[in-house]
C-alpha cells in the first residue's frame, strides 16, 4: 500500500533546547501511505520530531520537505496535517459535535456538508449518537475516539499521532491498535505514530524508526528490526533478548559464552570483538548429545501463558533467558543448541572509554570535568591536549556521589550474561561506559573514580 513516492523528507535536522541537543542530524523519509512509527524511550527525541513535522517547533538546522518542498516557514495551521494529542486536548467548552466540526467550521465548509462529514467520521470511530455529549463526560477511550475523529474529519494528508494510546488500559489499547490499523488500511493516508511501546510499534507499523538520545538507531520493517537489530540498544529495546560479548573468529564463525558457534554473518574481520543477540525463543533444547553445543543448569522456570520462561546457567557461568513451550525442572541439566541464522552479530560501538582531556602537570590529568592522578607521563607537559583510554571494567562506581572524583547517574543498563554494561551520564553530560558485576538500577546516583594505573594516556594528535 505504501508507494515509493516520498511525502516527508527530514534532511540533517537538528534541534537543541537551552543548549541540550535533543535531535542530532536526523535524516528520514516517509513514503506516501505508509504507517511509520517513531519508537524510543522517553527523551529520545521522537515527540520533538513529530512536533517539528507538525510545525509547533522549528528546526535549528536542516530542512523538512513535504512533497519535495521545504515547509520550514509554514505555520502549523497551514500545514495539511492533523494531530492526535497524547492527552487528547479536546476542547472542554465544546460538545463532541463542535469539537469534531471545529476544523471544518474554520474552513467555512457549508453546514450541511459539515453535518454529513461529522456523522460519517463518528460512525467510523463507532461514536454515533454521542454528538451532544459533553467531552468531559466521556471515558478515556471515547475521548480518544473523538480526538481521532476530530483529526480525520479534515482529511489530512498525514495523521500525526503522539502516543495516542498511552493513557488507555491494556485491553482497550489492544482494541484501539486493531482499529487504528484498519482505519489506516481503509483511508490510505500516511500515519506517523510516536510511541515508547515496542509491541505497539511491531503490531502497527509498516516501518519503524528506532531512536535514542536524539539519533536514529535503525530504520526498518518490524521483522528487520526484530530479527536483525543493528546494535545492542535496538536489540535490548525491542523484545526480549540475550545480548553477549563475542569475538568474530572468522567469517561465519563466532565465539561467545565460552563456545564457538556457526553463524551467517561475514565481513567483520578476524578476531574482532562484537556483540551478539540471541532471542530467548531461538535457544533450543535437545536430548541428542551430538546436536548439543553446550549444557546448562535450569535456574528458574516461570509459566507465561503461551510459553515458559527459563533462566539457565551455562557450563561456563553465563546466564541466558530461554523461552520454550516445554518446561524443564529447576535444577536439571539440559543440552542446548542455537541455529546459525538465529545468531545476530552486531558491530561493537566501542571497546573502551575514549576521553579527550588535558594534562594538568606530569602526574595529573583533567578529564570529564574532574582531575585525576595518573602515572608519570614522560614527554607530556601541563596544558597539553591528550586522549585517555579507560577499560570498561576499570571504572569504579561508588554508592555516594560525593565519594568519587566525578558524580553521575546510571542512564542505561544492559545485562550481558555474566555482567552488566552500564552507561553513566556524568554531571557535565558526558557518557562513560562501565562493566560491573554489581547490581545498579536506572537512575541511581553514583560517584565515579579512576585508578591512576588504569588511565592510559596518549598525545591527542598521535594516531
Amino acid at each position: 500500500m505504501a508507494g515509493e513516492e516520498h511525502i516527508i523528507d527530514l534532511r540533517h535536522v537538528s534541534k537543541s533546547f537551552s543548549g541540550k541537543v535533543v535531535l542530532d542530524d536526523i535524516n528520514l523519509y516517509i513514503r506516501k501511505g505508509e504507517f511509520v512509527t517513531l519508537l524510543g524511550p522517553s527523551g529520545c527525541g521522537k515527540t520533538t520530531t513529530l512536533r517539528l513535522i507538525a510545525g509547533f517547533l522549528a528546526p535549528d538546522e536542516g530542512e523538512i520537505l513535504l512533497d519535495g518542498k521545504d515547509i520550514s516557514g509554514i505555520p502549523p495551521h497551514k500545514r495539511p496535517f492533523n494531530t492526535v494529542f497524547q492527552r487528547y486536548a479536546l476542547f472542554p467548552h465544546l460538545d463532541v459535535y463542535d469539537n469534531i466540526a471545529f476544523g471544518l467550521k474554520l474552513q467555512k465548509v457549508p453546514s450541511d456538508e459539515i453535518d454529513k462529514r461529522v456523522r460519517k467520521v463518528l460512525k467510523m470511530v463507532s461514536m454515533t449518537d454521542y454528538e451532544d455529549r459533553d467531552v468531559e463526560s466521556l471515558s478515556g477511550g471515547q475521548q480518544q475516539r473523538v480526538a481521532i475523529a476530530r483529526a480525520l474529519v479534515n482529511q489530512p494528508k498525514i495523521l500525526l499521532l503522539d502516543e495516542p494510546l498511552a493513557a488507555l488500559d491494556l485491553k482497550m489499547r489492544k482494541d484501539m491498535q486493531i482499529e487504528l490499523k484498519e482505519m489506516h488500511d481503509q483511508l490510505g493516508i500516511t500515519f506517523i505514530y510516536v510511541t515508547h511501546d515496542q509491541e505497539e510499534a511491531l503490531t502497527l507499523s509498516d516501518t519503524i524508526v528506532v531512536m535514542n538520545e536524539g539519533r536514529i538507531q535503525q530504520i526498518g520493517t518490524p521483522t528487520d528490526i526484530y530479527n536483525e537489530p543493528v546494535n545492542s540498544f535496538v536489540a535490548d529495546f525491542i523484545g526480549e533478548s540475550n545480548i553477549l560479548n563475542a569475538t568474530m573468529i572468522r567469517d561465519h564463525r563466532v565465539s561467545f559464552i565460552g563456545h564457538e558457534f556457526d553463524c551467517v554473518d561475514e565481513g567483520f574481520g578476524e578476531g574482532v570483538p562484537v556483540d551478539v543477540v540471541v532471542r530467548p525463543e531461538d535457544i533450543y533444547f535437545t536430548q541428542d548429545p551430538a546436536r548439543a553445543q553446550f549444557t546448562a543448569k535450569v535456574n528458574s522456570c516461570t509459566f507465561k501463558g503461551v510459553h515458559y520462561e527459563m533462566y539457565v546457567d551455562t557450563d561456563n557461568g553465563y546466564e541466558l533467558m530461554i523461552q520454550d513451550y516445554d518446561a524443564y525442572p529447576v535444577g536439571s541439566t539440559v543440552m542446548l543448541y542455537i541455529e546459525p541464522d538465529d545468531i545476530q552479530v552486531m558491530v561493537k560501538e566501542r571497546t573502551c572509554n575514549t576521553i579527550e582531556g588535558r594534562m594538568k602537570d606530569a602526574t595529573h590529568v583533567e578529564l570529564l570535568g574532574g582531575e585525576f592522578e595518573c602515572l608519570p607521563q614522560p614527554g607530556l607537559e601541563g596544558g597539553e591536549e591528550v586522549i585517555a583510554e579507560v577499560a570498561f571494567d576499570k571504572v569504579d562506581l561508588l554508592d555516594h556521589q560525593d565519594e568519587g572524583e566525578l558524580a553521575g547517574e546510571v542512564h542505561f543498563l544492559l545485562y550481558k550474561g555474566d555482567h552488566y554494561h552500564l552507561t553513566i551520564l556524568t554531571e557535565d553530560g558526558d557518557h562513560l561506559w562501565v562493566d560491573t558485576d554489581d547490581i545498579w538500577d536506572k537512575g541511581d546516583l553514583v560517584g565515579i573514580d579512576l585508578a591512576k594505573e588504569d588511565i592510559k594516556i596518549r598525545r591527542k594528535n598521535e594516531a
Partner: protein
C-alpha cells in the same frame, strides 16, 4: 480530643465577626428607632429618590469600572501569562506591588496628584482611582487561569487550521472565562459599596451607595443605614449568583 474540635476557634470567630454582625444588620433594618418591628426602613428606600438615584449612579460606576478593568486587565494578564512575551517574574510582582500599599493611602496620593496638576475632580477622576485600585484584582485571576491553561488546547486549535487570532477568540477566551468571572466578582462587588474613593477623588460630589450608608450611620440613623446595607447585600448576593459557576470562579483564584 477529636479532630473536629480543632474547628471550634474558627467557628467562634465566624460566629462573632460574621454571623452576629449580619444578624445585627438584619435586626436593626427591621426595627424603628424605638425597637419595634417595622418594614418602613426597607419601603423608605424605594420611595427615597435620593437613595435610588445614588444607587443607580453606584451601579453605573461599578459596571463601568468592571468593564474598564476587563478591557485593560485581560490583555495585561495575557501578556503576563505568555512565556515568550514575559520571561521574568518581576513584571508580575510589579503588577501586584500596588496591592502591598494601603488602598486609602494610594487614593489620597492620587487625589493629591490631581490637585497638583489642577485636574478637576469628578467622574473621570473617580473612575481613574477605582480602576487603579481594582485592576490587580481583575488581572490576577485571569492571569492564573491563563498561565495554568494546558498549551495543547491552543496547539490543537492551530493544528485544526486556526490562525493565532482565531485560536485566541475560539479557544483561549472561552476557556479563560472562569478567570474573568472571578475577576468580575472581585471588582464589581467592592465597587458598589465603596465610599472612601468617591470621598477623596470627587470631594463627595458624586455620592455612591456606600457613601449614603456611611452618612446614615454617622448621623446615628442606624436603622435606615442597616436597611440600606441589607439591600446592598441582597443585590450583591444576586449578582454573584448571576455570574454563574461559582466553583470555576473560585478555582481561578487558587
Amino acid at each position: 480530643m477529636k479532630r473536629s474540635h480543632w474547628s471550634i476557634p474558627y467557628a467562634v470567630f465566624l460566629g462573632i465577626f460574621v454571623v452576629l454582625p449580619l444578624l445585627l444588620v438584619l435586626l436593626y433594618a427591621l426595627q424603628d428607632g424605638q425597637g419595634h418591628f417595622t418594614l418602613a426602613n426597607i419601603t423608605r428606600f424605594f420611595s427615597d429618590s435620593d437613595a435610588l438615584g445614588t444607587f443607580a449612579v453606584s451601579l453605573e460606576i461599578a459596571i463601568e469600572n468592571t468593564l474598564i478593568c476587563i478591557l485593560l486587565g485581560y490583555p495585561a494578564a495575557w501578556i503576563l501569562a505568555n512565556k515568550e512575551l514575559n520571561r521574568s517574574a518581576v513584571t508580575i510582582v510589579l503588577f501586584i506591588l500596588p496591592m502591598w500599599i494601603n488602598a486609602l493611602m494610594r487614593t489620597l496620593a492620587t487625589a493629591e496628584l490631581f490637585n497638583m496638576f489642577g485636574i478637576q475632580l469628578g467622574k473621570g477622576t473617580l473612575l481613574f482611582g477605582m480602576v487603579y485600585d481594582y485592576l490587580p484584582f481583575m488581572i490576577y485571576p485571569i492571569y492564573n487561569v491563563l498561565s495554568k491553561m494546558d498549551k495543547s488546547y491552543a496547539e490543537a486549535a492551530q493544528d485544526l487550521g486556526a490562525t493565532p487570532w482565531k485560536v485566541f477568540w475560539k479557544v483561549t477566551v472561552p476557556l479563560s472565562m472562569p478567570g474573568v468571572s472571578s475577576g468580575i466578582l472581585m471588582v464589581f462587588m467592592p465597587t458598589v459599596s465603596t465610599f472612601a474613593i468617591s470621598e477623596f477623588l470627587t470631594n463627595n460630589k458624586i455620592k455612591l451607595f456606600g457613601t449614603i450608608i456611611q452618612e446614615n450611620i454617622n448621623s446615628s440613623m442606624w436603622n435606615y443605614g442597616a436597611a440600606l446595607a441589607l439591600i446592598m447585600l441582597v443585590i450583591i448576593g444576586i449578582s454573584t449568583m448571576i455570574t454563574g459557576d461559582r466553583k470555576d470562579a473560585e478555582e481561578a483564584l487558587i
